[in-house]
Amino acid sequence: MAELAPNKAPETAIRGARFLLWLEAWKSFKKNKLAVVGLIIVLIFVFLAVFAPVITPEGINEQKLAERLQPPSSEHWLGTDDFGRDILSRIIHGARISLWVGFVSVIGSIVVGCFLGILAGYYGRWVDTLISRFFDIMLAFPSMLLAIAIVAVLGPSLRNALIAIAIINVPNFGRLIRSKVLSIKQEEYITAAKAIGMRDRRILFHHILPNSMAPIIVQGTLAIATAIIEAAALGFLGLGAEPPTPEWGKMLADSKDYLVQAPWTMFFPGIAIMLTVLGFNLMGDGLRDALDPRMKN
């Protein structure tokens, strides 16, 4: 059993104790090379997204029809698209969109999913039955079709695609939380909390929820990856971002016809999607290993 050498300087070193767990997770995360690569990829894209207007060589919408479909060159590193717009600039701006869709939709799903999952897991009985059945129903839907139908109801736009993606992911989080609540409810420290006379609500918010965070973060990271692909797929079907938004899936769809003529128009947005998604997946895996001790080897 691990004992900290008692002669180490105490007070100061341990300030910000809340962080300690994260610090430790970070340490174990750091050791995972692939995860770090993932993190770096994600950070690069986040950086690009945040500073897009500053760093892009050109605006995203400067059409120069005369310069359309130019291959990569020193002037346009990734070439130009069929409007003569600089692909690099658009991909960089596209990072904003994809990350935005990824983060916001996942946060949306988490919030709603948590709410429902907690209700179900904590109150049990008919509340649980009702919510669980609802999740079953949602999960039984072919998810892409559901997303398409939702977008059809709301009208195609980036925002609505985001909403659709958030909705189809709700049951995943809901179930996760529910099962977490159920399993944590069985933990000995919850019995201990009850034994000291703690009220249910406090148990829920001080014990159960904080202990469910790790899997949610992991699942959330991975869900961002999926959400980005889903958004791209909707974009590809013409059900996502409105033009001229440089959404990657839409860029792909737009350049589909140029696959032979100007392969770079199709190649780079695809790579951008893949890299970002890969980044999140690698990071999610790393987080899982770091946050979930069971997965440690």
């Binding site: 029809l65 409007f83 009208g155 013409g238 033009p243 589909k256 016809d257 032979v260 003529q261």
Partner: protein, 534 residues
């Protein structure tokens, strides 16, 4: 008359239908087929969507017509490459001077595919069937001939069999484009016996007199037609069979063509023209232009109720640029709602030049010196006249922005798009039209007359003076006079600027090099009677 193109909105895009029906009647026939080894002389025609039905009278979509055109014949038909009238089931015809009576002499010895005789009675039967139409079917009939029996505007008062091979039509008022209309593929003559026999399901068991006999239909997948050995044109058709396959994705369809899986690819996107030219074993077919692509401005919605604003926007569009980029040059800029091939085209009209300064001036004059915000609706599906609405919209958005007009590009699913646009919910919308009988009326009246508000006049443009001209032109049998009237009409329209006419495109198709005598028809649907493999 109306178009093939628009009516079927949803059908054409990635549409697919579904039917199980196919199997039963298919199987026996298929056996025959596999014995016959039809591979050699079979043309595979790849297109974007499946047909909706094969009863020509009830269909509205281009993809259905492409097939029915080869199964049925009409009394008169269009020439191979334009809309001039040629004999078909009728070998000759004459009209009275007042334009109220038409008499057709029918071809002798023609038989329907089911072996029954084609004769005057059959023609009467078909027209009677349409004229007594159930209101939910036969849309083309009612729109081309002013409704059904008993309706006030119904044009065809009576259809009489004079003798075995003579039919006489009596009209209630003269209709200038009457022959143009009768030639429309939707008025293909069906076998009365088969109609009785199949009833509702005739649409899946089509029987006509045409060059090809229907054999099999696998919904969403393919339609197989085989040669009509008893076709009245000697030596035709040359093909043993034709298979129409649906391949929704443009790129895939082209790949199929390149890979040699199909012989002709419809709806090739203009950009791919060069690719086809680059392949030594492929050839490019161009369809003579008989269409218009435009940006409609809903004339009742502010600020588009202001003529100056509409004119200003007309100045702000770089049509040449759009054509170069997204039509690969396969189009010409439009200044009129009519395409130039159609009689009545007014070539004297001066187009609004691409002039942003002028546009700004006009805007200022209209009271919008700082521009305004608007929605710009982009079509979600490719059309011959607008292969990529979204991209055209982006170009428009970009130039509007330069005169201070902030356009937000909006799109809906095609069905929704049309419905909402028809309801006048759009500020400005991209749309277009392919003529289906080559008459000016089929463009100007249908698209811009106040009668058609709530129907094909999506821009809610209403001008009484124009209306009078168009009605006069409709019933005037004198071609010269009509041309003048339409030229006049175009002037009014040009000045009012209810739209921004964008392009008249030349749609392209790809084909194998050995496909000969394939005539891409301006209406979008062609008979494959003469096609053969070299």
């Amino acid at each position: 008359s109306t178009t093939t193109e628009e009516a079927p909105p949803p059908e054409e895009k990635a549409g697919e239908t579904n039917e199980p029906e196919e199997t039963k009647d298919t199987e026996e026939e298929q056996n025959k087929e596999s014995d016959a080894d039809p591979v050699d002389n079979t043309l595979v025609f790849g297109r974007g969507a499946d047909s909706v039905g094969l009863d020509p009278a009830t269909i509205t979509d281009g993809e259905s017509i492409k097939v029915t055109l080869n199964i049925y014949d009409t009394l008169v038909k269009y020439a191979d490459l334009d809309t001039s009238i040629e004999p078909s089931l009728a070998t000759s015809w004459e009209s009275s001077d007042d334009g109220l009576t038409y008499t057709f002499k029918l071809r002798e010895g023609v038989k329907f595919h089911d072996g029954t005789d084609f004769n005057a009675e059959a023609v009467v039967y078909n027209f009677e069937r349409w004229a007594n139409g159930d209101k939910s079917s036969f849309y083309y009939y009612s729109s081309m001939f002013g409704g059904f029996k008993g309706d006030e505007g119904h044009v065809i008062q009576e259809v009489k069999a004079i003798d075995e091979l003579t039919v006489e039509f009596t009209l209630s008022r003269p209709q200038a484009p009457f022959l143009q209309n009768v030639a429309m593929p939707v008025f293909g003559i069906a076998s009365p016996t088969a109609l009785e026999k199949y009833g509702e399901s005739f649409t899946e068991n089509p029987v006509g007199t045409g060059p090809f006999v229907f054999q099999e239909w696998k919904r969403n997948d393919k339609i197989v037609l085989v040669k009509n050995d008893n076709y009245f044109m000697d030596g035709y058709p040359k093909l043993d069979s034709v298979i129409f396959v649906s391949i929704p994705d443009n790129a895939t369809r082209l790949n199929e063509l390149i890979a040699g899986e199909i012989d002709v690819a419809d709806g090739v996107s203009p950009n791919d023209g060069s690719r086809i030219e680059g392949e030594s074993d492929l050839q490019l077919f161009t369809r003579p232009s008989m269409n218009v692509g435009y940006l409609g401005l809903t004339n009742t919605r502010p600020p588009f109720d202001n003529k100056l604003v509409r004119q200003a926007l007309n100045h702000a569009v770089d049509k040449e640029g759009i054509i170069a980029a997204f039509y690969a040059g396969q189009a010409e800029p439009a200044k009129n709602p009519l395409p130039p091939v159609i009689a009545g085209y007014n070539d004297d009209i001066e187009p609004y030049p691409y002039d942003l300064e002028k546009a700004k001036e006009l805007l200022a004059e209209a009271g919008y010196p700082d521009g305004f915000e608007m929605e710009l609706w982009a079509m979600p599906v490719p059309r011959p006249y607008m292969p990529d609405g979204q991209k055209v919209a982006e170009v428009l958005q970009n130039s509007f922005a330069q005169i201070g007009v902030e356009a937000k590009i909006v799109s809906f699913e095609w069905a929704t798009y049309l419905e909402k646009a028809r309801n006048g919910e759009a500020d400005a919308f991209l749309l277009g039209w392919t003529g289906d009988n080559g008459d000016a009326d089929n463009f100007i009246y249908v698209l811009l007359d106040k009668d058609n508000i709530g129907s094909n006049n999506y821009s809610y443009y209403s001008n009484d003076e124009l209306h009078d001209i168009l009605i006069a032109a409709q019933s005037n049998p004198d071609q010269e006079a009509r041309v003048e009237l339409y030229k006049q009409a175009q002037e009014i329209i040009h000045d009012d600027a209810p739209w921004i006419p964008l392009v008249h495109s030349t749609p392209i198709l790809g084909g194998k090099n050995n496909v000969a005598d394939f005539f891409a028809h301006p209406t979008g649907s062609q008979a494959l009677t003469k096609v053969y493999f070299e």
